[in-house]
Amino acid sequence: MSNMIDQLVEREYAFGFHSDLDTEVAPKGLSEDVVRLISAKKNEPEWLLEWRLGAFRHFLTLEEPTWPNLQHPPIDYQDMHYWAAPKPKPQLSSLDEVDPEVRATFDKLGISLDEQKRLSGVAVDAIFDSVSVVTTFKETLAEAGVIFCSFSEAVREHPDLVRKYLGSVVGYRDNFFAALNSAVFSDGSFCFIPAGVQCPMELSTYFRINAAQTGQFERTLIVAEEGASVSYLEGCTAPMRDENQLHAAVVELIALDDASIKYSTVQNWYPGDADGKGGIYNFVTKRGRCAGARSKISWTQIETGSAITWKYPSVILQGDDSVGEFYSVAVTTNHQQADTGTKMIHIGRNTRSTILSKGISAGQAQNTYRGLVKILRSATGARNHTRCDSLLIGPTCGAHTFPYVEVKNDTAQVEHEASTSKISEDQLFYCRQRGLSEEDASTMIVNGFCREVFDELPMEYAVEAQALMRVSLEGAVG
């Protein structure tokens, strides 16, 4: 068993290459000048610069939170670049204009940007360092009335929509990392589904960090109007580097009456090496607002990467009869740390939320579920069901569960279940007696443990997620 754990510790990160590109970077450090520089580089309107500056000034009054169950050396916010872009930064009109190196990188990652070759019908927005390099299938989507483009383009082409919704779910006063992101965010994806439209294909954003010593700060904004629906997926990888890199994104979702948004994440940032050196610090604020009656927001996340993950995709259940869901698999191995969970804020009547969290730890890793279920006085008939399962692999990892519940309406029903288990010797022996290798057996058992969450992923990504689990847990046996 112990040599299997050693193998796990020695696993390789498959996406750790780095592309040689001429990159334009802002000077290191964070200041009002840098904020102005970013805004100027992007030819932003005055209102957006003012918003960024407001965020920056607020950021200066904040301190990094210390409450998470995470340990890392202090982050020097002056010792990194806040903006990097592959040079030249083109106004792309077709795929042919994308830098061949960038395209090669995405090909290597298995992300085809070539519309002709894409049969699976997924529209992709590819973000390389700070800049969106290409968005596929735009015309097809436009015919349906769907806007799917980079954030920068949305600011240019749809300023009224951006201005209306930006910061409406996660304001820049929300928290330290949200304030930082609001000041220096570089790019991201924007998605707007007009009333009554079912988005005709899966939308996907692929994030790749390439430049060294650079923070990555994107914003994603998704608006589904009355009766609209969309399924959206994001994926992310980064090169292997010895230093830690900061990723602080903000995602805002807005669902109006009868709208539904399904947001899935397969997060595979570089997790650091076996000794805990390097890896991405992933401090992300994700929140959806079920603004309308009978609206639904569903988060599904498969978190296998990053040295540190700090992330609580949440739902504000404002509309009556609205539904919030959170399905999560968080895998931590080696020295990875994850403090992740969700917040379900029930405001409307008969609002319902479901939380299903599966934490898997191996090696020296620490895996924390932190969740808040808050039922306000107005939320008559609200219901929540929460289940947190933890699976431990080996004797040196840890699993922690911090469920917070605040109920201010006595008609509410809140249920919480939690379990902690190990892959049992009995299960392993049973599988091996049937001819499976120890590794196949443990992968099978772990995938079984995650099944209910994988079932929530769009079909093609469920397969990808299982393959990713196999790579992440290579050699892991309990």
Partner: protein
């Protein structure tokens, strides 16, 4: 054939098997009976390769030394254990599990993989004979199965894996009469000239339906008596306590 000579097994200085000798020739079905704590389950664990035991002695199967082999290598060599308490594996579909197992063993035997459709056909045939609902295939491995369903699932796996040495560890315990008959028929169907079977039990009921070639009594960590099928009934009448011990040579 299975050949066991002078097998000593202990766990944390406690002796469980104490000089066990046993031969099961190809094509024969042997029963091992014995009171609780006599070492029956330890014997099946040791034969199938579970770790945690201190072992000395000889265990060969068709001349191959089994003891250094991993459980999966023994399974590939044709050793099958029907578990007394089949374990539950939540979230892993029974069909997927069975097919993976069958294909692992087939790969070892140089046979091509069975595709999902092909396997489904074969599995359904076997299930019909065991009076199993095809819905079993879509459930998680043993999860929420009744005792009888778990045991049938073991027999199903045995018939799909076509082992050369089948060890059945108290497969009959906890079964009602009907289930017992189905299980017995399943075992009887697998009787074959190139297969050795070892049935571990402490009831004679199963042995009425599956007639063993030899019956051995395991007591105090060794075989104290061996005989034909009639020995099972002698045991039932007299009990282990009063069983006249054979003069050992």
């Amino acid at each position: 054939m299975l050949h066991i000579a002078n097998l000593h097994v202990s766990v944390a200085d406690q002796t469980i098997l104490d000089g066990l000798d046993l031969d099961v020739p190809s094509g024969e079905v042997h029963a091992i009976m014995g009171p609780n704590g006599s070492g029956k389950t330890t014997l099946s664990n040791v034969l199938s390769g579970r770790d945690g035991y201190h072992i000395t002695g000889t265990v060969t199967f068709d001349g191959v030394d089994l003891l250094p082999l991993t459980p999966e290598d023994r399974a590939s060599a044709g050793v099958f254990l029907a578990f007394q308490h089949p374990v539950e594996i939540p979230g892993v579909g029974n069909m997927y599990f069975l097919r993976t197992a069958v294909n692992s063993v087939r790969a070892h035997r140089g046979l091509p993989e069975l595709g999902a459709g092909e396997f489904l056909g074969v599995a359904k045939e076997h299930m019909a004979r065991l009076a199993m609902d095809p819905a079993f295939l879509s459930r998680s491995v043993n999860a929420g199965f009744s005792g009888g369903e778990k045991k049938r699932n073991e027999i199903l796996q045995m018939s799909l894996l076509e082992p050369r040495l089948a060890i059945l560890d108290e497969t009959d315990s906890g079964l009602d009469i009907d289930a017992l008959r189905v299980v017995a028929q399943g075992i009887e169907r697998l009787r074959s000239p190139d297969r050795s079977m070892l049935i571990i039990t402490h009831h004679t009921q199963l042995l009425d339906d599956v007639r063993p070639d030899r019956v051995h009594v395991l007591q105090g960590g060794r075989i104290v008596r061996s005989g034909g099928p009639e020995l099972a009934h002698e045991l039932e009448a007299a009990g282990y306590e009063n069983l006249p011990s054979e003069v050992s040579v």
